[in-house]
């Protein structure tokens, strides 16, 4: 199964300005895709459409054959809860909750947080922040917070991870750490990852790079350094 974009057009404002120009693309399960391009080229806009947060003006996106814009609110939220993990540039942890409680927000929504507690601790441990588990976000560094946010995105074992410049606010060391984590879960857990980044070095770590320029896909070049896990059709 895959995420398939068919003639995806996105326009904003009145008179409408076209931000995405009839994009066709396909992201297969287990792929690690990077979306790159200059600022304002439409990277975030594309990611939001792929990830059910936004709808295309024309064309459609099919996730495993289903069009999210035709799902009910309940279905969308269930899908987000069970199948999707978001990571943003700003970590967006709830300041009143400890690191562990933040990670368990998704399971809590499904009333399975007790079952998931051990796994959440394991994730925090993997990312080197197990000792922060009972601290509030304000008591942690930016890099630690971002790793907690990634643990939160992963705790439901989602099929898809959508990350919008997760390294944007981090220094090089923490940035590389986060990239390492993403590569690792893509390999180990076969999680499909869509990563928006404007850092060429990180973009190259992906199986495949979608390069946007003014809302057009210029190339979906295989960066070549690592072989794709699945061959794009």
């Amino acid at each position: 199964m895959a995420i398939v974009g068919e003639k995806v057009i996105k326009e904003f404002g009145n008179p409408p300005t076209r931000v995405l120009h009839a994009l066709d693309f396909r992201i297969d399960d287990g792929e690690f895709i990077s979306i790159s391009g200059r600022s304002g080229s439409g990277k975030s806009t594309l990611l939001y459409i792929i990830s059910t947060l936004d709808k295309p003006t024309q064309g459609r996106v099919l996730i495993d054959g289903r069009d999210p814009s035709l799902m009910t609110t309940a279905e969308i939220h269930r899908f987000r809860n069970t199948s999707v993990g978001f990571i943003f540039q700003f970590h967006y942890l709830l300041p009143e909750l400890s690191a562990l409680e933040n990670v368990l927000l998704g399971p809590r929504n499904m009333s399975i947080w007790k079952e998931k507690r051990a796994y959440a601790m394991e994730l925090l441990d993997t990312f080197g922040v197990a000792d922060q588990a009972h601290k509030l976000p304000a008591q942690m560094s930016g890099g630690q917070q971002q790793r907690v946010a990634i643990a939160r995105a992963l705790v439901m074992n989602p099929k898809y991870i959508f990350a919008d410049e997760p390294t944007g606010n981090l220094d090089t060391i923490n940035g590389e750490r986060v990239m390492g984590i993403l590569l690792d879960i893509n390999k180990r857990l076969k999680t499909t990852i869509c990563l928006v980044t404007h850092e060429p070095d990180y973009a190259k770590l992906a199986n495949r790079e979608i390069f946007l320029s003014d809302g057009h896909i210029v190339s979906t070049a295989d960066p070549g350094e690592s072989a794709p896990m699945t061959t794009p059709s």
């Binding site: 947060l53 309940a74 987000r80 967006y92 709830l94 300041p95 009143e96 998704g106 939160r152």
Partner: protein
């Protein structure tokens, strides 16, 4: 949702406590004000002689009409004027046709009970002591159905009036000024008649000096006899199956005769006015307090939502739907509303119990402290008002929060 809601509430303790206190004070003050007002009102109501009667029929006093009197002596169109016009009562008030009323009332299915009375003035004397009272002739078993005087007997029963003839029940103040005891015999006179001996069979005390010093009850037949007016009745108190129909019934019946027929509210117009003013005062004070705390709550929740947009966005992206976001805010508002409201009830209740036990040093009703009512509807009204105001104050910001889409928030923050 509860978990997150409570965490958010406890993370801003000061605001939470302030809102909580505002709502608590609102309900507490309602309970205290309403408790004392209703307590006073119940007391005053019992003081009214017809307290539980819904309709009262009284005879019209016949006044001397100067024109009518002049026309008896001179032709109607003659130019004669009174130098000093005659004035005054021709006769004591009485019903024109009491028997007719009895028949009508007995036959009316809406009438629960009715009690005829004859009120006259009488002079009591015991040895050299004299005392003026209003003497009310009653039929005891009927009278207790339209008043609560039976609850205020210090000794004896109203029913004792029926044992033999010429018995009286006196107010405690009357007893005092005559220096009399129950079982003794005193003399009663209307002032026009020869004094007759009456036996004291009971004492009542309403707690209102003015009444306790000037009122006496006798059996209707005995009072009619003393007054030498057998069969005369000056008023009838009626209790209906439902108080709502009192005005209508009073109006209907008033068409049948010249007697004055008044519904409860009309008969106690001054009292009703006091009650209305009390109601308004209570509503205004409590309304103002609840309004202020509801506004406070609305503000705090609105501010919280605008500060927490990012968190709301993340919850939405994790799969918390709009309804759960609505719930998140509602829980916070309603928890404060319900807990603050209930604590207000409890604190208000105990404040009332405390007030109830303060010795004021003078007699009101049966005791010497404020009269407090613990009617359940006071508590129900207070908690309902607290709940309504907090629900409104939290549902508006909650719906606003639920409408936010995660994308708008994420975009505006990037």
């Amino acid at each position: 949702m509860w978990f997150i809601a409570f965490r958010q509430m406890f993370s801003k303790k000061k605001q939470t406590v302030l809102i909580f206190l505002g709502i608590m004070f609102g309900t507490m003050i309602y309970v205290i004000i309403a408790g004392t007002q209703y307590g006073m009102r119940d007391y005053l109501t019992e003081q009214l002689l017809n307290n539980t009667a819904h309709v009262i029929i009284t005879g019209n006093e016949r006044k001397i009409d100067p024109v009518d009197l002049r026309e008896r002596f001179f032709p109607a169109d003659s130019l004669v004027n009174w130098i000093i016009p005659p004035a005054g009562k021709r006769e004591e008030a009485r019903l024109e046709n009491p028997q007719g009323w009895f028949e009508r009332l007995s036959a009316d299915p809406d009438v629960l009970a009715f009690a005829p009375r004859l009120s006259i003035n009488a002079i009591l004397s015991r040895g050299t002591l004299r005392h003026n009272v209003g003497l009310v002739g009653i039929i005891p078993e009927r009278h207790v159905q339209v008043t609560s005087i039976g609850d205020y007997m210090l000794s004896g029963k109203l029913d004792d009036l029926k044992v033999g003839t010429n018995n009286v029940v006196l107010g405690s103040g009357v007893m005092e000024s005559l220096g009399a005891r129950v079982g003794q015999t005193i003399l009663l006179s209307t002032g026009l008649s020869e004094p007759r001996p009456f036996k004291i069979v009971g004492v009542f005390e309403l707690g209102n000096q003015q009444i306790d010093e000037t009122l006496a009850f006798g059996h209707l037949n005995d009072v009619q006899g003393l007054n030498r007016t057998p069969g005369r009745v000056s008023e009838i108190s009626i209790s209906l199956t439902s108080i709502e129909m009192s005005q209508d019934k009073a109006h209907n019946w008033s068409l049948y005769s010249n007697d004055k027929v008044q519904g409860w509210e009309e008969a106690n117009a001054a009292f009703m006015q006091v009650i209305r003013i009390q109601d308004i005062v209570r509503m205004v004070i409590t309304g103002a307090i609840l309004l202020v705390s509801a506004f406070g709550m609305y503000n705090v929740l609105s501010i919280m939502i605008s500060q927490k947009q990012k968190e709301i966005a993340i919850l939405r992206s994790i799969g918390y739907g709009p309804n759960k976001i609505l719930l998140l805010i509602l829980i916070q508002g309603l928890t404060l509303g319900i807990s603050g409201g209930f604590l207000g009830l409890v604190v208000g209740h105990f404040a009332n119990v405390y007030l109830d036990n303060i010795d004021l040093g003078f007699k009101i009703g049966k005791g010497t402290s404020l009269l407090i009512s613990y009617r359940p509807d006071i508590y129900i009204t207070a908690i309902v008002a607290a709940l309504i105001s907090t629900t409104v104050a939290s549902i508006l910001p909650a719906r606003q929060a639920a409408r936010l889409t995660p994308l708008e928030i994420i975009r505006s923050n990037l």
